[in-house]
């Protein structure tokens, strides 16, 4: 949209009906919005949001999952070694078992956090794909064949719910009573 469009519209206004002038004004506003959006999308490309920032963030999250999984297995290894100890006095054995049970229960965090991180990764991939598509509309790049399709599965569930969205174990129990 030319920058002097306001002047042009003002110049034309005398020859137009009120409705046509209003419509022309709306089109002018729309043109400005599109122009701004295009500049924003071009800026996204310059910042490399869809081609480096988001892929890098998803890689970092994958590393978090991998490291916590390894740490959890190490904790479980140590716990199993403690359980295998022979000749522990009965009172100490009970304390040991209570402690190892608590460690096993706590280690389930890895599964829960892994599922939550997977949800975040899926959301990031979706944003990445949308940005790529928007950029392709405004700024066609013939050298780029990078099209990310998010791994959205319709058969899988949504994973852990946030507090407030979830049904409690006691509410579930009521369904089975």
């Amino acid at each position: 949209m030319p920058e002097n469009s306001d002047i042009s519209i003002a110049h034309l206004r005398g020859d137009l009906t009120a409705t046509a002038a209003s419509l022309l004004q709306e089109l002018d506003s729309l043109g400005r919005i599109i122009s701004t959006a295009r500049a924003e999308v071009v800026a996204l490309r310059a910042e490399g949001l869809d081609q480096s920032v988001i892929p890098s963030a998803t890689d970092e999250l994958a590393e978090i999952v991998s490291h916590t999984a390894q740490a959890t297995h190490d904790i479980l290894d140590a716990c199993e070694q403690l359980e295998a100890l022979q000749g522990v006095p009965p009172d100490k054995a009970e304390t040991l078992m209570t402690a190892t049970t608590r460690i096993y229960e706590a280690c389930a965090f890895q599964d829960i956090t892994g599922q939550r991180i997977a949800k975040v990764v899926t959301a990031l991939q979706l944003i990445e794909a949308r940005i790529s598509k928007a950029r392709a509309c405004f700024v066609p790049d013939p050298t780029s064949s990078h099209q990310v399709e998010p791994a959205m599965s319709t058969v899988l569930l949504n994973g852990p719910q946030l507090p407030g969205n979830a049904i409690s174990q006691s509410a579930i129990d009521a369904l089975f009573d």
Binding site: H73, L76, T101, D111, L157, I167
Partner: protein, 128 residues
């Protein structure tokens, strides 16, 4: 009623950490005979070739989900009465209802503790 703790339990989860945790917790509540499967297909093959007294399965697996596994088990003449506990982080009411309609014996929300596991197994086995 005395609970038979010598039954063979099949733990199904595609997350190795979780199968390991559940098997260890089972051991601590005196269920020492447990096997594991990493997905629904492997579980079904083991159930059809073995003699299991209880299934504890995750829901969120691919390609065969825990719900699909449950439906296959309930459709199998030899397995249809097998106690089946779903253990999942998914706690939306509609999913719990879907599992119940498919014939799940009980449902445990992650994270859970050894006491919840023991309590649900006892409840399910009492009705088996």
């Amino acid at each position: 009623m005395t609970l038979d703790r010598s039954i063979k339990v099949l733990v199904v989860d595609d997350y190795k950490t979780m199968t390991r945790i559940i098997r260890n917790l089972l051991k601590q509540i005196d269920f020492h005979d447990a096997d594991e499967a990493a997905d629904g297909h492997e579980a079904l093959a083991k159930l059809r070739s073995g003699s299991f007294g209880l299934v504890i399965s995750d829901w969120n697996m691919a390609p065969m989900t825990g719900l699909d596994l449950l439906k296959e088990v309930r459709a199998d003449a030899r397995l249809k009465h097998l106690p089946f506990i779903m253990v999942t982080a998914e706690s939306k009411t509609e999913n719990v209802v879907a599992a119940k309609q498919a014939g799940v014996s009980n449902y445990i929300v992650k994270p859970f503790n050894a006491e919840t596991l023991r309590e649900k197994i006892e409840k399910v086995m009492a009705h088996a």
